[in-house]
Point group: D3
Chain length 157, copies 6
């Protein structure tokens, strides 16, 4: 299989999708951010307050998904038709789990938008809690599922 982003001169190009059909597409991505027990507890307390860390991360992730083609060099601009992010606090493993779903109706996939959403949401959590925990670590940023388009449905085992 070819790396499709490489042109005849051996340099990067934005792949031509002009001839692809418009189909509804969806992608789900996951990330988690490990932290100290104490940090996780502070985030949990925050969810009771109004402007909690997770609400800001939610907004950041959605706005970040809209910037995907501005951030990832060879990504096509996409008319994202929907985006949602969910958080889950895992007190057993001291981490926040982040899942993002992005949707579009278009000629190319929306995987990168969902991956940008979870990554930027995780980095926003880092930013807002770094004063109390510099060692937080973002891990397992990965595509869980995608549907639509010529390559069909993918689901991570």
């Amino acid at each position: 299989m070819e790396l499709t982003h490489i042109n005849e001169q051996g340099r990067a190009k934005m792949v031509d999708v002009s001839d692809k059909k418009e189909t509804p597409r969806e992608a789900v991505a996951y990330a988690c951010i490990h932290m100290k027990r104490e940090t996780l507890e502070r985030i949990k307390e925050g969810t009771i307050a109004k402007g909690d860390v997770l609400s800001v991360a939610q907004v950041a992730g959605i706005m970040g998904a809209k910037k995907t083609s501005d951030i990832i060099p060879m990504c096509h601009p996409i008319m994202m038709t929907g985006c949602d992010i969910n958080f889950s606090l895992d007190f057993e493993n001291n981490k926040v789990e982040i899942t993002a779903t992005a949707r579009t109706v278009g000629q190319t996939g929306i995987e990168m938008e969902s991956l940008c959403a979870v990554s930027i949401a995780a980095l926003t959590i880092y930013d807002m809690c770094k004063a109390i925990d510099r060692e937080m670590t973002v891990s397992d940023v990965m595509l869980m599922k995608k549907s639509g388009g010529k390559s069909g449905t993918f689901e991570r085992y």
Copy 2:
């Protein structure tokens, strides 16, 4: 210790750093992206060619670092004075390791810029290789070191 991003109404604010001194600051961040052996080999071959995946990821990471305050809601705009990214191919664990160093002379830290650089570089590698490997996973996004500013030097374990 307080979460400094929360205002009196319990909502998020951009912390006031007007009174902080300008000091030279540096931050180093790390991330890695796991992949199939075959994908790693393709990337390695690419480093011989002109427009290889890692060169595009390098540009993406540096440009992404410059967008940090546009992406992370409560981050201050910063005059980044330098940014560099290094890649290392790890054939034992089938992953690419990414290290970014960001520098500034200013009133607030540059940790988030270095973390955005490695995250966006990693997502760019994902984007350019996803046609041959959808299961690549970005992990261990973390701050390795930071110096400058009132809180002084931090070095991970």
Copy 3:
């Protein structure tokens, strides 16, 4: 009626419009900016010159409308197909009246684009005249009319 931007966790989401039909849509918004008589006269003189305040406000409003989905967190990206702004100098009430019309063919409405256009045009007038009049006030930023889409035509009485 539900606030549609809220997800199951009670946090904000970008509403899914994947299933909506593409229809031609139009929105008209209004704003005015009150100022000192003298400021209004200076603006009027300017309209005779080449690079007058209103020409800059016109460009700012149109470019601002294109940034709507980058500025308003839950707005969908939209392919705006047309945008125009008109100014009217009201010497009876010492204000400039601004009307913006935005158009698209798409799955979701273009109201926010027209509201961003008039708001940013008004703020640009403020910026360019603030040296002579700090007390200018932007008021009556509102949607006058919208057509297209499932909810049909709205006209402010």
Copy 4:
């Protein structure tokens, strides 16, 4: 007094502030958004939930303030050192009141950043509630106070 934004050809320019001294500067702006009683009550209920309308408006206003020089054509880029937004629900007049404070240490004022913050926060409230109330109106967008710089302190009577 001259309109300082006009060059010798009669066209707009970005005023040269190279020779101005760096001083701490602060600006406070105000805006309000009128709505139906019912809409205001829904927003109030929301403040109990996690991802309420005002939290999103808060994030939008702060991020919007950071985009000021990208939105307002003749504005200088500014290193905003702090930004906060407060909301107050006024049930007597059925409106939300918005106050934003922006700070910098620099060669030019930060008035436009505070005005962008309140305007964009107000438009975000509009966006998130427009499904239940299209007639909301943003008014009284104005500078309340500014300090620092050669022209000294201004306070609206």
Copy 5:
């Protein structure tokens, strides 16, 4: 023939293309950058290395093409479906020749995207080599060909 960007008040507008048909469109633009012999040789050497000047210019040109509607005031946002850039080193005339092809399926042309791509690629070459050659000159930025849309095919003689 009329200048279509001018509204009834004599000010600029974004032309309404709502009624235009969606067609596949392509545009090819050209630019060259003249430089000292020595600079050209350094660029050539670089093409052997991994992160050469032309690879960075390639990424910059493609990302710049995606920013066209953000940079050129009256340009419509466009869903670019493909973009490629080619470089040719001309040792007879001591210049680098740049050709960019942009594609879309839409209601309006993609000429400006191709012109932005070559211009920004050329300016990136200037930026990366200016330490050794400040007198490089970008010339002959022009549209070579466009197809699709109502006005049909254009080819520069």
Copy 6:
């Protein structure tokens, strides 16, 4: 002399200027755009009207200069302290001449900002007149002069 943008791995980096002194800096760039006689006459007529082509190009050039570090990959973010653009209609050679001056007080030069200003102003003229003249050509984009910084003053012979 070394190409300073290349790191130890042979890839591009943003040069570290942390140790450079802040000095006032100025750069002047030039570009011209050749066109049909008739197009030039239409532009001249326009300068009498309110929203003429050159006013829009002026705003585009200044706003584009502010985007320089977002467009040119290895450029440092800069606090531009002033920017002005002048146009001159040359009826002998059927072209518009564009000169831009950019100023800053900082650790690194402002050449790229002045070059972006003239390039983007020229492309805006192309965009607004392309309906009547597709063969316009931008040429002679070059640095005329720069002062400030360690490398001192440069003036094109």
